[in-house]
């Protein structure tokens, strides 16, 4: 009996390409010697995650991911790298003295996690998103009803960050 090789659908191919891109960028972020390259790979990985969100039909989140992660966080990181120049290309390895143990720990963690994930019977199909319902409107509605406490909390969190950043930036 011939072994049937499942033919991937178009979506699956797109997923595989994006996933490989994201994973490769993610790996390069942590092993790249040059810190600036790390930051660029981080931008790549963040874009990849945004693409994954689009595949999952969470477009709003994908836009948020691009705006906040790439527009703000990655930019901040690049700024910070520039401001702490001289640290960028060390004469020595970018890894610390426990990197061997770190790699081992991370590997063990990954294998353990996969072992759990493997045992779960996974749904192959997701429900179709009802066309008559706007998910973004639903999201807005949830923010002021079910998740209103969390919504307020995020406001306060940003206030803490604001006060903190101002305080750190201003030398009196």
């Amino acid at each position: 009996m011939p072994i049937e090789i499942p033919i991937p659908t178009v979506t699956q191919v797109i997923f595989l390409v994006m996933a490989l891109f994201t994973a490769a960028c993610g790996l390069m972020v942590v092993i790249s010697r040059n810190l600036f390259h790390s930051a660029l790979f981080l931008v790549g990985a963040l874009f990849g995650v945004a693409a994954i969100f689009v595949l999952l039909e969470a477009e709003f989140l994908a836009v948020g991911q691009v705006l906040v992660y790439i527009g703000a966080i990655a930019t901040l990181i690049v700024f910070a790298i520039m401001l702490t120049r001289g640290m960028m290309r060390g004469r020595t390895s970018p890894m610390n003295h426990v990197s061997g143990r770190g790699a081992l720990g991370a590997l063990v963690f990954f294998v353990a996690l996969l072992a759990f994930l493997k045992k779960v019977p996974w749904p192959e199909q997701a429900q179709a998103i009802p066309v008559d319902e706007s998910l973004i409107a639903g999201l807005g509605d949830k923010f002021v009803t079910t998740y209103v406490v969390a919504f307020e909390a995020v406001g306060l969190l940003l206030m803490v960050a604001l006060i903190g950043a101002v305080m750190l930036a201003r030398d009196r």
């Binding site: 002021v144 009803t145 998740y147 909390a153 306060l156 803490v160």
Partner: protein
């Protein structure tokens, strides 16, 4: 959208609203003040905010249990934890009064962040949803990262702040990943619904276990359980001491309260498994904490390892997963807030100006010249080592009793043995104070707020021990 639904039970988050309003007031007052002299009003405004939040908490206590928008709840346990957090915040504010002007003049931001951190802690203690819980955790964590680095001219302080940030953010991502897996297992972020789903054998056990394990790592970092405690001594030592006092009592209370809620509401059906994991962690935490504390010369590092060990004792109460255990943990946190903040207040008096720490030899001969200060420190040390009839004794007593009645007698025995070890390093401080000669004349620092908080903590430590009838009401108010 329904306005009536939105305002129903709004009183549940009244303490948080009060704290947020006062944080804004503090910033406003800081902007409007004319000269340095007027900045003395800021701590008073902060204290007013904390007292108002306490009053709000007391007021809610007399109302039926309610929850607001499935995000926050005002049951006895949440209110009790809020009270402990507010007590710690109030004491820390008193300690900050004379401490701050010497090291950094950005007092408006400091007090605003103290209030916001308090808010995050109380919110975490009353959160009933993983999302709210995580956000509250982040609010106070971010505020504390910044506060630890408040002494900007001191490289130790900034270093402590950065280390705290890196390890805290690292821990947060574990927490989030764990929460995501838990959401995957149950399909909801509501703690009680997770519990219902998992009890009825729905959900995905293979997502559940890694989820619980990762959540445990996240919580473990926040309450400094071994082996996730590496940051504790560095941060305790490098942070300005009033901040150390605040975070030692406040973070522990908030994180343990939330931990108890996650275990008791979302995962009660899995107690048999996590009970063992917690028991192992508790043994490790108590033993490593106490044995390392024995070797410390710095008072703040000793208290940091003692705080690790104390996290272990509190964890013992959580192992059986009983309501009695949760209450015992909260009561322990109350006594710990008083005795530990008190001990750190004594450290402040002994610190050299511009140093963030005092070595144990600074305490030598203290009893000869400053008998009252030495007496206060003795009370805290005796209470921390669990000697009756002080507050710390009752804290330990209830914790170990909960363990024994939950069928974990061996764990209680390990706890008692650990208390015995800990007595050695606590009593060593007393020996130095009463029997050693002073190496250099120490002129303790003092200001009104410091003396007041010393008096309050010492009195509370004694009174809780001598008049149990005063707080049995507190315990029964925590509900079943």
């Amino acid at each position: 959208m329904n306005i009536a639904a939105l305002t129903a039970n709004l009183h549940v988050i009244l303490p948080e609203m009060v704290l947020a309003a006062f944080a804004l007031l503090v910033i406003l007052a800081d902007m409007l003040r004319q000269d340095e002299e007027e900045s003395r009003l800021l701590p008073l405004l902060t204290l007013a905010g904390i007292l108002a939040a306490m009053a709000a908490t007391a007021w809610i206590w007399n109302r039926p249990v309610a929850s607001y928008q499935e995000g926050a709840i005002a049951d006895g346990f949440a209110l009790g934890a809020r009270t402990v957090i507010l007590v710690a915040a109030g004491l820390a504010t008193l300690l900050s009064m004379g401490y701050l002007p010497r090291i950094n003049r950005q007092m408006g931001e400091y007090y605003a962040l103290v209030l916001l951190a308090t808010l995050g802690m109380t919110m975490m203690a009353s959160a009933t949803d993983l999302i709210v819980l995580f956000l509250a955790l982040e609010i106070f964590s971010l505020a504390l990262y910044i506060l630890s680095g408040y002494y900007r001219k001191n490289p130790r302080s900034t270093e402590a702040s950065m280390k705290y940030f890196l390890l805290g953010a690292f821990a947060s991502s574990f927490f989030v990943y764990g929460a995501a897996l838990l959401y995957g297992a149950a399909g909801t972020t509501q703690l009680r619904e997770i519990g219902n789903l998992l009890a009825s054998d729905h959900g995905n056990p293979n997502l559940l276990w890694p989820g619980i394990a990762l959540l445990l790592v996240g919580f473990g970092f926040k309450v400094s359980l071994v082996p996730f405690h590496m940051w504790t001594p560095d941060v305790y030592q490098g942070a300005p001491t009033p901040v150390t006092a605040f975070m030692s009592a406040g973070t522990k209370t908030a994180a343990f309260a939330a931990f108890v809620r996650v275990l008791m509401e979302a995962l009660p059906a899995q107690q048999i498994q996590w009970g063992w994991a917690l028991a192992v962690l508790a043994v490790l935490t108590m033993t490593v904490g106490n044995l390392t504390a024995l070797r410390q010369l710095s008072l703040k590092r000793m208290l940091a390892y003692s705080s690790v060990a104390n996290a272990g004792y509190i964890l013992v109460a959580l192992v059986p997963g009983t309501a009695q255990g949760s209450k015992a943990a909260l009561f322990y946190l109350l006594t710990y807030a008083f005795m530990n903040v008190g001990a750190l207040a004594v450290v402040i008096t002994l610190e050299k100006i511009d140093e963030l720490d005092a070595l144990q030899n600074r305490a030598a001969g203290l009893a000869d010249r400053w008998p009252l200060l030495a007496l206060a420190m003795s009370i805290f040390m005796l209470s921390l080592s669990g000697i009756p009839p002080l507050a710390g004794f009752f804290g330990k007593f209830f914790v170990f009793q909960a363990a024994v009645e939950g069928g974990w007698t061996w764990l209680a025995v390990v706890g008692v043995l650990n208390s015995a070890i800990s007595a050695y390093y606590y009593l060593r401080v007393m020996v130095a104070m009463y029997f050693h000669e002073a190496e250099e004349p120490v002129q303790p620092r003092r200001w009104g707020g410091l003396s007041l908080s010393l008096a309050l903590t010492a009195l509370a430590t004694v009174i809780i021990g001598l008049y149990p009838s005063l707080w049995t009401g507190f315990l029964s108010g925590l509900g079943g």
